[in-house]
């Protein structure tokens, strides 16, 4: 593999008909959807909390997050938001790819994707690619709600 400054290994996923890319460094693992418990005080794109690897993690519907309609959620992508894990509910996991020369353009506001969650927009195979910054996906108050839920659980 060529060491490239701009070359980045990403996990390609599909959510809401869009192709998204998550830097592989932020990805812990992929799994199938686990039972999600909705809780109060969560933004609409946060479906609830699920127990993954013994811990309660918030489940974010990526399609809703991006402001698109979700197809059937077939995968959870466990990502690191800072030091806390979160699960992204996506339609499919396409695979691992090495992105190079992805044009990063200015990220317009996409749905609830404010707070800098969208790092860049790119193109891959003629398709719009949304490069996500995982850490910014889950809002702060959701963490608190999840934490409360965990205490209750």
């Amino acid at each position: 593999m060529e060491p490239e400054g701009k070359r980045e290994s990403v996990l390609l996923v599909r959510a809401g008909g869009r192709a998204c890319a998550i830097p592989l460094s932020h990805v812990i693992e992929t799994l199938r959807p686990l039972p999600t418990t909705p809780c109060a005080g969560l933004p609409p794109f946060v479906l609830g909390a699920a127990v993954v690897r013994g811990a309660a993690v918030p489940v974010v519907e990526l399609a809703a997050f991006l402001g698109a309609a979700a197809a059937a959620t077939r995968r959870f992508v466990l990502v690191r938001c800072g030091d806390r894990p979160a699960a992204l509910a996506v339609d499919a996991v396409s695979g691992v790819a090495s992105l190079a020369g992805v044009e990063r353009t200015a990220a317009p506001l996409l749905g609830a994707a404010d707070g800098g969650a969208i790092e860049a927009l790119g193109a891959l195979d003629g398709e719009l690619l949304v490069l996500l910054r995982a850490a910014r996906i889950v809002p702060e108050d959701a963490w608190r709600a999840i934490a409360g839920q965990e205490d209750v659980a």
Binding site: R32, A50, V51, V52, R53, G54, A55
Partner: protein, 168 residues
């Protein structure tokens, strides 16, 4: 039976993600639970060089009845032995479905057997040395699911093959 199996597999797989990560027990011994010639046996995975589904075995003439023929693997031609016959039991009438790769790269052989029952990790305590040298390269007994399963020593089998070859 099968309907439950899929759900069971699914549930087991998904539950594994929900459960806290189990500490990797480095001392667990991986075994292949197989059947050869009707004999229920096990094999240490680390004694093998790989597992293949049995491909086309081209019969080759040989004075040794254990030799089934040769097969091609990654550009190389490997001799195929019947594990059952090497163990001294009669073959099943069917052609074998699996092949274990064993031996060093230069002396790689394929050991053909009939049924692959599974791949398990057992604690070393589940393996017991058989008293004395068991017949047919059976050195150990593995306790699997409450039943004892003889563990075939692959090095022993290889030695038997090599000695015989030297004897030719």
């Amino acid at each position: 039976m099968l309907e439950g199996t899929v759900e069971a597999l699914r549930a087991a797989f998904d539950a594994a993600f929900a459960a806290p990560p189990a500490g990797a027990r480095r001392d667990l011994v991986p075994l292949l639970v197989i059947r050869a010639g009707g004999e229920a046996i096990a094999v240490r995975v680390l004694e093998t060089a790989g597992l293949l589904p049995a491909r086309l075995i081209v019969p080759a003439p040989s004075r040794r009845p254990e030799v089934l023929g040769v097969c091609g693997h990654r550009g190389a031609v490997l001799p195929v032995f019947s594990l059952a016959r090497l163990l001294g039991v009669a073959d099943g009438g069917e052609p074998p479905r699996w092949m274990l790769l064993a031996g060093r790269e230069e002396e790689r052989v394929a050991l053909a057997f009939d049924v692959l029952d599974g791949h398990v990790l057992v604690a070393p305590s589940a393996l017991q040395r058989a008293a004395g040298q068991g017949p047919g390269h059976l050195a150990e007994i593995a306790e699997l699911g409450g039943a004892g399963r003889p563990v075939v020593s692959i090095p022993s089998v290889l030695r038997a093959i090599t000695e015989h070859r030297r004897g030719e």
